[in-house]
Symmetry: C2
Subunit: 553 residues, 2 copies
């Protein structure tokens, strides 16, 4: 594409860089802006009590007047889970393939409706905000994943979305390598590409390999088969259905999130379920075990998931038998390894046969490995390259691959969320930084859980606290009531009367001294806090938070 040399485009990743999750990118040109993806992520272990984390969208609010559309690459929560928070601020049409929009529709609350969904297909270009936009098919662990090509005045910007190259895909739809080649020949100004597995050598296995493993396991299984997988992995579910039908078994689906996905995918025809294949638990109870397959969630050891309840024997309906076979068809996400390992141990302890990644080939990744990344870099040969979707480590390795593919170092941008990269055919540079921190969702509140509160939580988790309350006379400074002491997370108060008595005595002494010094209540509180903290450190080697409460009468 011949471009006007003076035109520029500004790319602002607001999430997904330096992290896995909450993907979101803003593309701006002239007086227009579009948003690619709006995801959330689950909190790390160092964010106690937080439900989910979304990108900071204050920048989007500030350019609200020029935002024309949100484009979705695919229907995973780290790409669509933050939609509702964006729609609360910016009412614009949402573009995506049929299944992606179906899944987005499923997660949006009534409060942001009606929503202007606009379905796209892979075989037709779209006009959005005055430019041509193509959705190009890629493979991923969900059907209908798309790369998005924007034909901007400054040149073509191509975002791969999450991708792998599956040469033996379940639905027969390979990633559209031809179109990638065509885009490359036209000349791509800037490529943004998924970096998740940039430090994995070789090629990612085909989804269809997993089906072969399932067949072997089904062949050997004597009793029921439990299959845990991600609820959105529709190709995986399709393979489960196919192999279940092939071996003459019936299927129970246990878990709302899978039922919901199946409903959407089946309604849109992305799912071929033979009639009467799925049955109720009541029907299953009347069948021989070797005719039953139970599909459930919980591949990450999530405490409330079906698999965890089954493993801990707390499931309301299902108990593991010695003849059962369990397949955990997913990898642990970093940080979840211990949880998953516990689930495997618990299931083995109950007598089940367990198949999981480190022993069997029951999962393949949905993301390209380094050789596939090189294929895309070779097809596109972009002028500028921005690795996206990954921790810094993964972006770094993807950048390394790009250098090896002859993209000059100065044309590769390893960015952070909030970096604004301005590009033209002549030059590219990071021009500024916009707010792009993490916004925490805890209960009903969006974002008002600050770092201070999170620090308090960590401190409380480590050391607990002790509250010391008493009433004193405003006039005389005499203690009129108390001290009373409550403590949590420090010592077991019913068995620690010695420590409590010591603290009470010390506090009364402190008040006596303070009375004669005639300083303020604030001083009194500070002295109590310091002295009691020191005392507890000395006697217990622990540092609970000490909170004096003085009531004046």
């Amino acid at each position: 594409m011949r471009s006007q040399d003076n035109s520029t485009v500004t790319i602002t990743p607001l999430g997904g860089l330096g992290e896995i999750g909450k993907n979101m990118t803003v593309i701006e040109w002239d007086n227009n802006a579009i948003i690619i993806d709006a995801g959330f992520k689950f909190p790390d272990a160092d964010l106690p009590g937080i439900d989910k984390v979304i990108p900071d969208i204050t920048y989007i609010e500030s350019i609200k007047h020029k935002v024309r559309a949100i484009l979705l690459t695919h229907g995973h929560a780290d790409h669509i889970g933050g939609l509702r928070y964006v729609l609360e601020k910016v009412k614009v049409p949402i573009y995506g393939t049929e299944l992606t929009l179906g899944l987005a529709d499923e997660v949006l609350p009534g409060s942001v409706r009606p929503v202007d969904f606009r379905k796209v297909t892979f075989d037709k270009s779209n006009q959005i905000a005055g430019i041509k936009v193509d959705f190009v098919r890629v493979n991923h662990s969900i059907p209908e994943g798309a790369a998005i090509a924007l034909y901007l005045p400054a040149g073509i910007v191509l975002h791969t979305g999450d991708f792998k190259i599956d040469l033996n895909p379940i639905d027969g739809n390979q990633m559209d390598l031809q179109r990638f080649g065509e885009l490359g020949l036209k000349g791509v100004l800037c490529l943004m590409a998924d970096s998740t597995n940039a430090d994995e050598p070789g090629y990612t296995g085909s989804e269809s390999e997993v089906g072969k493993t399932f067949e072997n396991i089904y062949r050997a299984a004597e009793g029921r088969i439990f299959l845990a997988t991600f609820s959105t992995n529709i190709h995986r579910l399709q393979q489960i259905i196919d192999v279940t039908a092939k071996f003459g078994r019936k299927l129970i689906i246990d878990g709302k999130s899978i039922v919901d996905t199946v409903k959407v995918a089946q309604g849109l025809g992305y799912f071929k379920m033979p009639e009467k294949l799925d049955i109720t638990p009541e029907q299953a109870a009347k069948m021989p075990d070797n005719k039953v397959v139970i599909v459930t969630t919980g591949t990450q050891g999530e405490p409330m998931s079906g698999l965890t309840k089954i493993a801990n024997a707390t499931h309301p309906k299902i108990r593991i038998k010695k003849s059962d076979t369990v397949i955990i068809s997913a990898d642990p996400i970093p940080g979840n390894e211990s949880l998953v390992s516990r689930i495997v141990s618990s299931l083995l302890k109950l007598g089940a046969t367990v198949h999981y990644r480190s022993v069997d080939a029951v999962h393949v990744s949905g993301h390209a490995s380094s050789e596939e990344m090189k294929i895309v870099l070779g097809l596109i040969k972009p002028k500028y390259f921005i690795p996206v979707h990954g921790e810094y480590r993964q972006l770094w390795f993807h950048a390394k691959l790009a250098r090896e593919q002859k993209i000059p170092q100065e044309n590769i941008f390893i960015c952070e969320n909030g970096d604004q990269i301005q590009l033209s055919q002549k030059k590219a540079q990071v021009v500024k930084k916009v707010p792009a921190g993490a916004v925490y969702i805890d209960g009903a509140s969006v974002g008002d859980i600050g770092t201070a509160v999170l620090k308090e939580r960590s401190r409380l988790a480590r050391d607990g606290f002790m509250t010391i309350g008493f009433a004193i006379s405003k006039l005389s400074g005499e203690v009129l009531s108390g001290p009373e002491i409550t403590s949590q997370g420090f010592i077991y108060i019913k068995e620690s009367s010695d420590t409590i008595d010591l603290v009470k005595k010390a506090v009364l002494e402190i008040v006596k001294d303070w009375k004669s010094s005639k300083t303020s209540i604030i001083d009194l509180k500070r002295i109590i806090k310091d002295k009691v903290s020191d005392m507890l450190l000395e006697t217990t080697r622990r540092r609970p938070l000490v909170l004096p409460m003085v009531l004046q009468i």
Copy 2:
């Protein structure tokens, strides 16, 4: 060995089963008992504030009169780190190889001294508690690791300790397979064997492979080289020294734990350090970067470690330069993956070249994989088999290997900590269960951190708390002062005056109603707790712990 058919031996694992860490086993016969290993482990993420975890030793205290000795297999903390707590209760001689005792000596506090250390060698049998005891050489990620063979009246009991079969060991000392064969031919009543990598196929790589990788990295490195490793991995350290000397570089050792290990190992001759190879940071500052190697700790991303400080640019002396090369020569222990990944990202961000496991062969495990386990099972062909040192999952896979090696299912015991297995030439069975939970060390206190306090900590971390204090008249029930409110981990109190005012108003209302009802203060507290909790849930969708404190005057 011909054995008396009536004799029995009782084996009680007190730690290391169903977990990785705090290994400890009690072996009893007639009126004798010996303890094999006494380790600790670091707490899981769900034990906030806990420093370390040791086995429950109340059972050992109950058989105190017959405990004759503690035998140590090797000098790792998960085998010797709990020694001090055992010695506080039971003063007995400690047997081990020279290096193992040297490392044990290093960690014992003055309070348990003097300690009766008794050095053993691999080439001489020992008489302990009236029986013959042999220490048999195995390979592991520390030199001088031993399997322990006890010639008991009931038969031979063999404990492998932590082992792998290294055919190309750094110190030239292969695991003593001949002696294993000899023991097998004599007839082993019971084998206890390390299960850590039971679900890993094939063979574990030789330690010497890592040295070859180091050579390649040294050859390519243009600036300083940082090498992070476990402080006790003396063979690894030896290889670092050798390759550093070979490439004409000098070495700084950064980190007390490595300095301590080097001191012990060098003092005992387990370490060959060329003269003037190690230098001070001041000397290094005057040398060209390509002559400097810095050995440090922190392979697990521990917050206070050298490597973490270097990666976060908070180290007092060391700053990363773009020409630096960093080698993280260890695998993340399950649960630490995210921490390690962050360290790698931070180092790459500072411009360093980073080598770590998932990309390069810079580490091998110290534990046997499944084929090596089969070799040991084949050499020993024990009558009974107890897989040890592993989570249930790993014990289960080790048991599976044993079944495949023709040990009958009924002669294999997958046990839990505290199970007592009584064995004789005629039969074996679990006869009873003794206390064997985890004992938490937090500050100065051993064990008095109960489950209740830990639950409190988790609750506080998730939701925070709110204390509501006020003084009332004993006579009239009038509020005389307050309510005053403190809160932590819930909302940022300075910015939440609306919520605070709501709570205060509600509490005053509640007291007014309560006054007329004439019920107890306990009732009043309960009502406040319930009503304020409901109110906060409704307005904030969060559930802080609400703690009323009522002072009567």
